[in-house]
Symmetry: C2
Subunit: 353 residues, 2 copies
């Protein structure tokens, strides 16, 4: 920190193919960016060095910090953090916390990375609950669905904060001028939904966000809305459902083709095309998802992240490290408190997060 | 009633193409079933007769009951029922209530049909809240997602009742021997989710249903689970999202193909195949969705229902009219109260629905 080039901590023990993919992805990231940042690989030093020795890393700003413990995908997030203080996750996140790095990247246990981000880095002022969103490719551009599973029970204020964080992210990272924010509901009318959503509607309507009103599940993929806000229970259901569509289509295509020989001949072609289309919108391209609302930059990736996916996570982290998103979130939330006080808004803020 | 052949009331003014499609669908239904039931078309008599005069209906057991008022798609469900007592919906549902018909079918205003079903027919004993599910084609067979938008706020007991109704429907109509019931959640562990879902888990685990435990959004389309239970907020989000997938894929295919001439040549073929695959799982084939938990048989269809869709709704209604599903629902819910009392279950029943 302080230097113009950011330093990125990579949790070398995070993913299912750690540390091989973490090392390979780090090297790819440095090569592609022409050393626009430096990388600290955190984890079992010997294992990491073994992989580095086999690679061409001469001249690359890459270093290793030893962390002998590993948090696995099966570990309970909060327990693991307490018990494994020498894990790559804890050691790496603390490097970021202490200012020795500007961002943190992991393909490890999502719950544990989220906990570590919140507990070690702390929350941005004004944020009740940090959140993780999901990116959906749409008919045109990207849609950020937030929350995607982090907070299963939400109050109106939480949904409002998700909208603020999502909107700033969409603006700064996706470069949308004035992202359109929709509140996920069962219909478009203001009176629809449950009490939480109706109150969230009021908060969003009174805010300075570019609020599109209520939207429905069908609006996620159209590209009309850039940020769709919902609680993590609903967001997770949609995300998981969406992830199952390619394999469903593959199976339906197969059974369709089996009904006659002509169709069978076309099956390979149709499948190949669909596969290519889905490939275009693969998670690898998105470079993981950020934990929004924590004091720092923390990116979480899929456990199965390939070197390419790790590389994209690192590039995203480097971008976020210089984008100052958290300052904007803090400022916007502070402004909205003033704005509401002036407007005499009657919806109370949560007493505790 | 009393005779061996059921009588089906068709709301002739319900859908967007009423009464043309309703009349045509009724005739198709009688022809296909070889007059296995009789049909009463309810609505503006003159308009209906005009359509009947143009058709070949000699020998078909079809009659008309006049109802001069029409509930439109824009009408508020409860207000419309109070104000339009001579609507085809109110008159037709009352014919069913009075035992002059054994089932009711409408492609009209979903909210109004649901209200009329609940208010006029009444609830099955033991059912707190009637519900509407949605059918999803899967990799293998059909999955019933229940609730699909009717009840946006649910208590554990409501989710339990949805599971009972869905399970009986899947058994009697889809002919699944022992339908596997999953509780939609954000993860498979018993501890996952919010309080409502965790308590619903306990109810389901202690029940005699074939309970698969928690399932995720990705399990809807696999075919592994036959009944997925969730509140109507989540169910509606998934349903609407799913409905948007075909148009999303069409758009992505187009943009994929535009990138080179070879791909462009294949576009028609790939699209045609996908269209055929989606056609296989079209709503037309499912014959509408039943209102579960009301004292009678009430089937709701899409506003845009074609004659074929109306026909399938009528065939479904005739099947339901003889399936005695409500008796099974009542019996199962009564049994579960006894079962729980014996087991000393501590989860309380709702004081009021």
């Amino acid at each position: 920190m302080g230097s113009s080039k950011p330093t990125i901590v990579v949790d070398a023990m995070g993913g299912d193919f750690a540390p091989a993919n973490e090392v390979a992805g780090s090297i790819l990231g440095l090569q592609e960016s022409q050393n626009a940042f430096s990388i600290v690989l955190v984890g079992k030093e010997e294992e990491i060095q073994k992989h580095l020795r086999g690679a061409e890393i001469a001249g690359l700003p890459i270093s290793v910090v030893n962390a002998p413990e590993v948090i696995t995908m099966e570990d309970s997030p909060t327990a693991a953090l307490k018990q494994k203080k020498d894990s790559s996750l804890a050691v790496g996140m603390n490097l970021h916390k202490e200012g020795k790095a500007d961002a943190f990247v992991s393909a490890g246990n999502t719950g544990a990375v989220l906990s570590a981000s919140t507990l070690i880095l702390g929350r941005v002022k004004g944020v009740s609950r940090p959140t993780i969103g999901a990116f959906f490719p749409t008919e045109k551009g990207v849609c950020l669905l937030v929350d995607a599973g982090t907070n299963v029970d939400c109050r109106p204020q939480h949904l409002y904060e998700f909208a603020v964080m999502g909107s700033i992210y969409a603006k700064k990272i996706f470069k949308y001028d004035n992202p359109l924010v929709g509140l996920l509901n069962v219909g478009e009318e203001e009176s629809k939904g449950n009490e939480v959503v109706r109150d969230a509607y009021k908060l969003l309507k009174a805010s300075r966000l570019n609020f599109a009103g209520n939207v429905e599940g069908r609006d996620v993929l159209t590209g009309r809305i850039q940020v769709v806000v919902c609680d993590g229970f609903v967001g997770n259901a949609i995300l998981k459902f969406a992830e199952s569509v390619p394999s469903f289509l593959k199976a339906r295509l197969k059974s369709y083709a089996e009904k006659n020989i002509l169709r069978k001949g076309m099956l390979g072609l149709v499948r190949g095309t669909l596969k290519a289309v889905f490939k275009e919108m693969d998670y690898e391209e998105y470079g993981g998802v950020p934990v929004l609302g924590v004091n720092g930059v923390s990116i979480i990736g899929h456990g199965t992240s390939t070197p390419k996916a790790i590389k994209n996570m690192i590039l995203k982290a480097a971008e976020l490290a210089t984008a100052d998103i958290n300052k904007h979130i803090e400022q916007t939330l502070a402004d909205s408190v003033t704005h509401r006080a002036l407007a005499g808004d009657t919806i109370s803020m949560p007493a505790h997060p």
